[in-house]
């Protein structure tokens, strides 16, 4: 199953790269069209899979609640994407930032049952990853002529970087476990968001960004990698087999 997932990821990421790059070479309008279509496909699939994952994990317990928050974050990002396409930029920002709040709480809720093992030292070390991204953003911004919009754009890679913290803590905790794979993909996906948002900030500051720009590639990749993470989690918790004798012990509940 893991091999199939790896093949899916490699094929999808390569296909997205080729389509966006070739359409950029042919015509910018094609690039915008394909970028929007792939984005719609990826975000819709991700949202659908998140709902399937919620049914698979169940609503009970810390992880049940955590995955509901994850679905909420993806749902708000899905709405933000559609608003961005309709040029409702202020509303889109509102939904994107709400999504970050849900995502961060998802991380905390997921890790809560393992709080016993999370020391201050782990939190501090994981938080250090944010520092180079803060420095990079700090030196890219032209502070003399910064506008309100520039500040919002600059805050995206910073917030993305903060979202990396729970993923890094999760990965250190679950390094030898089967849940590691989905946590690795969530970490890589969020790293792609950092890169894409930083790239968007840079190209927008030199007024070279247009919808469908090559910097959209890591951005769409992030959603596809998140799809991989969710699929890995769905596969981890298989459907209950009613024929298995293990279920007999439910009589005790």
């Amino acid at each position: 199953m893991k091999t199939n997932l790896n093949i899916f990821l490699i094929f999808s990421l390569l296909a997205i790269f080729c389509i966006i790059t070739i359409s950029n070479i042919i015509n910018y309008s094609y690039a915008e069209f394909f970028s929007n279509v792939i984005n719609l496909g990826a975000t819709s699939s991700l949202l659908g899979l998140c709902i399937v994952n919620n049914f698979r994990v169940g609503m009970h317990g810390g992880h049940g609640a955590a995955w509901i928050l994850f679905t909420l974050s993806i749902a708000t990002w899905f709405i933000a994407e559609r608003m961005w396409e309709l040029n409702m930029l202020t509303h889109a920002d509102l939904f994107w930032f709400s999504g970050y709040v849900f995502y961060f709480i998802f991380g905390i809720m997921y890790l809560k049952p393992f709080a016993h093992q999370i020391s201050k030292q782990i939190i501090v070390i994981s938080s250090l990853v944010v520092v180079p991204i803060f420095i990079a953003v700090f030196f890219t911004i032209e502070w003399q002529s910064i506008s309100h919009t520039d500040m919002i754009i600059a805050s995206y890679p910073l917030v993305d970087a903060i979202m990396l913290i729970p993923s890094i803590i999760g990965l250190t905790l679950f390094f030898k476990g089967r849940v590691r794979f989905s946590w690795t993909l969530l970490l890589i996906g969020m790293t792609m968001f950092v890169m894409a948002d930083y790239g968007f900030m840079y190209f927008d500051s030199i007024e070279e960004y247009y919808p469908g720009h090559i910097v959209d590639v890591p951005y769409i990749w992030a959603y596809v990698i998140f799809i991989g993470g969710i699929l890995a989690n769905i596969n981890l918790f298989q459907k209950r087999d009613k024929n298995k004798r293990f279920n007999d012990q439910n009589l005790m509940k």
């Binding site: 317990g61 810390g62 393992f114 093992q117 030898k176 089967r178 005790m252």
Partner: protein
Amino acid sequence: MEDIPGVTGALISVTISQSLYAISKAVHDEVGNALYKKYNCYFHDCLDHPEYLVDIIQQIFGDGYISIIHNINKKLEEFSYQKPINEFLLGLYK
């Protein structure tokens, strides 16, 4: 204190079940299914084989298993004066 046959096993089963359910239903079912598949045992059989439970939880959560074990230990601490439970708890940390 003498153990009434089956009661200690039931207590162990309920405690494991509760601790895993607190994480999620999926984790509870997955651990139960994996225990049965690999060791042909139920939660209550873990009283004699705590290492089976540790192995399965470790497979799923890696080093994160320690927190789950810690949680089970906290719930059973008050019954640790009973020899079988004390041995079970010691077995979890071996």
